[in-house]
């Protein structure tokens, strides 16, 4: 019999603490698979700041270090500057990357740091209990927008990838989702390209991943997959947002 599905070698044998249907688990799986395939396991360093994924180091069997909230890009910069052989990624939530860490992210991108940001956009602050994130959609109800996000008061959902794309040091930016097998495959491919840009010493790369948070969206896992399709992608369209790596799509 042919084995079609196996546990990625770099995914530790411990049960996830994530809620059922959470996108973090899927991205972890995809990334550990990819890191192994690209043979990066022994020189990759991951930085998961606070967020539901702060414990990512329990699952990734690679070197990882925690950073303060929002400071991932700065910490990754330090690592990369001191140890350029490393492949460095941050694994940040939308609160982390697009609110408290906006400055760090923008300036790391502007310096063209050879690091990769994995940006999990679930439109809420998951870990702290479902408060408004900068990416929360208009009218979306969260625990700090109990009447729905009113753009006149709370501003608009921020399109961080598009903003970072304007920065010259950023070389590869793509938005994907993990709400269907096809989209999950695309996510893997996008992260591969982002890592490749770093390996090729080209500049800053970022992959934004629309990721379900059934718990705080108060939906079933299936409903949350559909919500990404029907609602979230209207605000955050999927696709390559910037690619100046000069590499053509291999397939």
């Amino acid at each position: 019999m042919r084995k079609v599905y196996t546990r990625p070698r770099l995914l530790k044998r411990v049960p996830f603490h994530y809620c059922p249907g959470c996108g973090h688990s899927v991205v972890h799986r995809v990334m550990t698979e990819l890191i192994d395939e690209m043979n990066l396991g022994d020189r990759i360093i991951g930085i998961p700041p606070p967020g539901c994924s702060v414990f990512a180091y329990h699952y990734f069997d690679v070197d990882m270090a925690e950073s303060a909230h929002g400071r991932g890009a700065a910490v990754a910069t330090g690592i990369k500057r001191a140890f350029p052989e490393a492949i460095v990624f941050t694994y940040q939530g939308d609160g982390d990357l697009a609110a408290i860490g906006t400055a760090e992210t923008i300036h790391a991108a502007n310096r063209g740091e050879r690091i990769t940001a994995i940006f999990i956009n679930n439109a809420v602050y998951g870990m702290t209990g479902g408060q408004m994130a900068p990416t929360t959609l208009s009218d979306q109800v969260t625990t700090t927008t109990p009447y729905g996000r009113d753009t006149k008061i709370e501003g608009y959902p921020i399109r961080m990838s598009e903003i970072v794309a304007l920065i010259r040091g950023a070389v590869y930016i793509e938005r994907t989702a993990v709400n269907s097998p096809a989209n999950i495959r695309k996510t893997k491919k996008a992260i591969r390209k982002a890592f490749q840009a770093q390996i090729d010493d080209l500049g800053f790369s970022l992959v934004e991943i629309l990721s379900p948070c059934p718990t705080n969206w108060r939906m079933t896992p299936l409903e949350s997959w559909q919500w990404i399709d029907k609602v979230m992608t209207k605000e955050f369209p999927l696709g390559v947002i910037k690619d100046i790596t000069g590499k053509n799509d291999a397939d």
Binding site: E66, A99, T128, T144
Partner: protein
């Protein structure tokens, strides 16, 4: 009502007009309470800021124009606010800052802890300043001290810190609110409201003349002396005949009280001093108690921070022991009782009169 919501309700009833915060466990219920109850209130404003640094600076702005303003966070976020608190102190601006603290250092744990005592009572940020620090130990006190915090902040034009912890924030207890929200508060006389009908006004800290800054420091210091004299608050429990006095604050004091009651039924003469203001610290009271009682046990949920204030107050005139659990571990009353009994016997306190 959870402790966090209690603070929110008490703040609104104290006339708090502006709340700016950033999510962090274990104080989120407070931010959420303000989003639901202050956000749509006339003349009031709620913002979920992009960071704690932003939040405290928003408070600074609101205070500049005379509003009663508050922010809240937990330990890592309070570290970020220190710069802003220093500016508030320097500009003599009132503000209320809530720290529902958690285990540290670093990201630490979200469990209740008292490891921010030093940070809270020594100013916390850069420069030569103090803030009033209130340490509630029950749901009712969360309500009462929140109200007091706004009044003290206005009275002395100073930032006031409410130092709670994760457990106080999460716990629900019956609470009675003693005030109704005021219709309208008078605008503070020195607020920036535009120079209509008066000369323009500057609020700033920077100066090129050291002597000018020295004068500011002196004037702050004189006010701090006044606060020391007028506002020091504490609770004593069974200290009159005590041979051993436990000194504890906040949630730890509550746990200690349970242990002391049991110690009393076992015939041990143990009492308690609970500072309600951590700054100003009730040093005079410690000194006075030391005239009758020689032995003090400082009990904290950290590695020993308030103990330094007790030792300073005693000036070597008593014997101080320490028991602490850091990291967010919550000691039980029976654990504290064991410590108390051991110490009581070690020091031979059961013998004699």
């Amino acid at each position: 009502m959870s402790g966090n919501s209690t603070i929110g309700e008490a703040a609104i009833r104290a006339g708090c007009q502006c709340y700016f915060g950033y999510p962090i466990t274990p104080q989120n219920e407070l931010t959420e309470y303000m989003a639901a109850h202050l956000g749509r209130k006339k003349g009031c404003s709620f913002i979920q800021a992009e960071s704690e640094i932003a939040a405290i600076n928003m408070v600074y702005g609101a205070s500049l124009v005379g509003a009663r303003a508050m922010t809240s966070s937990s330990s890592p976020g309070i570290s970020l606010k220190q710069e802003g608190i220093s500016y508030l102190a320097a500009c003599e601006l009132p503000a209320v800052i809530v720290n529902m603290s958690r285990g540290g250092p670093g990201l630490g744990s979200i469990s209740a802890s008292q490891s921010d005592y030093f940070q809270a009572t020594r100013g916390g940020g850069h420069g030569d300043y103090r803030t009033i620090v209130l340490a509630p130990s029950s749901g009712q006190e969360l309500a009462d001290l929140t109200h007091r915090a706004f009044d003290l902040a206005d009275k002395y034009q100073i930032p006031v810190i409410i130092l709670g912890d994760g457990m106080l924030g999460q716990m629900m207890e019956p609470v009675e609110f003693k005030h109704e929200a005021p219709e309208e508060l008078p605008i503070r006389g020195n607020a920036l409201r535009g120079a209509k009908g008066r000369p323009s006004r500057i609020i700033k800290t920077f100066t090129s003349k050291p002597t000018e800054l020295e004068e500011i420091n002196w004037s702050l210091f004189r006010r701090y002396q006044l606060i020391r004299k007028e506002e020091t608050a504490f609770e004593t429990f069974l200290v009159e005949d005590a041979k051993l006095i436990v000194v504890a604050f906040g949630i730890a004091a509550r746990i200690a009280k349970g242990a002391i009651k049991n110690a009393r039924t076992n015939g041990m003469r143990v009492g308690m001093l609970r500072p309600v203001t951590l700054w100003p610290f009730p040093s005079e009271k410690v000194k006075e108690l030391a005239k009758r009682t020689r032995h003090f046990l400082v009990f904290e949920m950290n590695m020993g921070q308030m103990i330094e204030d007790v030792q300073l107050a005693l000036e070597g005139k008593g014997e101080v022991s320490f028991y602490g659990r850091p990291g967010g571990v919550i000691p039980t009353p029976s654990e504290v009782l064991r410590v108390v009994s051991r110490l009581y016997h070690q020091k031979g306190l059961e013998s004699g009169k």
